[in-house]
Amino acid sequence: MMRLFFRRRRMSDFADAIRPELAAIPTPEPTEQLLDRILASRAATARVILPEPLTPRSRVPRRAIVAIAVAAVALLMLVPSVHRAPSTGEDVFASSGFLAREAFAQSADRDGGRRLPPVALARPQAIRPLALEFSRRVQNATGQLVKESVDSLAVVPATVDGTPVWQITSRLRELVATQLRVETETLYVARADLRALSRAVHVSPYSRFERINVQQRFQGDSLTGRMTTDGPSIGAGRAIARRLRPELGPYLTGAFVPLALMTVPMSPTWSASADLLGWAVVPRDVYTPIELRVEGEEYLTVPAGTFDCWRLSIRFSDGPISYWIRKSDGLGVRVLDERNAATTGTRETVLRRVTE
């Protein structure tokens, strides 16, 4: 104990001794060029979302922690359990998606690499003009239908700044209580290589707002844009500025998900990884990693017809969902999400109609 004290004391003396020299180590001077660069970036509407300067956590004495834990356990034993409805997400500014609610699974600071190779969108020419209609159903734990909605998706050729693109528009309409909720996404991808160029999402109503609008632009590894709201407006909204790590991806948006595997050669042993892109307004909704695996082959009947399908599992951080695609062209046919079957229920999306 005494030895430890003296060792710490020696280190403290050493720290005192080198502190002035540490502080005297030369550092660069700020230049006018750097200021010019900053002002030029601002003038070019570049925006950076800075982190909050965190305040230190207060240290809770161990005895207090034990007392709180005991009280919590006692409370759990005394109070009957109540299933709370999932949060309506007041001002959460985060996305849902074609594959059900996958938002909030990850942050932009995710460490570590992928375990599977990335989904290779190897056949961009497989995308073609299409009009699809999906039906989404949510059943509670007792099998009762609690929500039903229609999701349409259209793929049309267009040109943006001279670049041939696909304009992919998805439109979800669902009745929430007595109010119609509409969610649209318009995505532009280059026809040559399917890289995303821009994306616009509008949800009406959203939380306490009449409408939320999310605009995103993709350039290199940068995702920039802005989120705004209508009624009430939050002024200039929130800037979006995220880096999409090149070693991850491909980054798929909700509108592109049903089409993505049209461009991928499948086999019974195929597996790969990708990232689902969120609205990127909040750090925990930038992208969500998923792992896809072919689990089997089966004939599946949905309102659009009976199809020979690959059955895949798509694994999120909180479990897998099932996804069926047509063998003939890789088009998404059915999604079944039973991750929270015992609590919030089962979500299912099926293909209702295909128009070519």
């Binding site: 001077e29 200021l35 950076v48 800075l50 240290r59």
Partner: protein
Amino acid sequence: MALPRPYEKPEDSPDARLVAEAARGSPDALAALYSRYARELLALAYRLLQSRQDAEDVVHDVFVGLPEALRRYEERGSLGPWLRKITARVALMRLREQRARPVVELDERRAHASVNAPETALTIEQALRALSPNLRAVLVLKEIEGFTHAEIATMLDISVGASEVRLHRALIAMRATLIDNT
């Protein structure tokens, strides 16, 4: 290069007015804040990252994002410490991203140091550079920048005890390097 730009005298512009104008996007106010704070923020970023280019990128990002961030700024303390904490966090985020691709600019730094500092400072600097990024971050934040262990623990998302241990290890490593070089 030192700043020769003819800004209005910073001491005549109280932070509150500059903050309000910068938050509205005024380039002049942003330039005035730059002239007032860039030196210490660049030094902080440089000490953590050990690269002039990366430190300048950090300061660039901080000032580009500053007008929007200032709209959230609550004037409970002075602006300087608030900016230093943000800059430290941005630099630490960059440090985490860089782990896989360390950048070494030793020649540039040696030349710079040999002109401007005595030989002992070069040795201290080498010892600081020789530390792992984890240890160097704690040493810089505690011994040079004057943050508390509680603040460092929050920035690095580690416990206060871990911050203290890292500082202790950093000092041991520094001393070993300096002894080897003498």
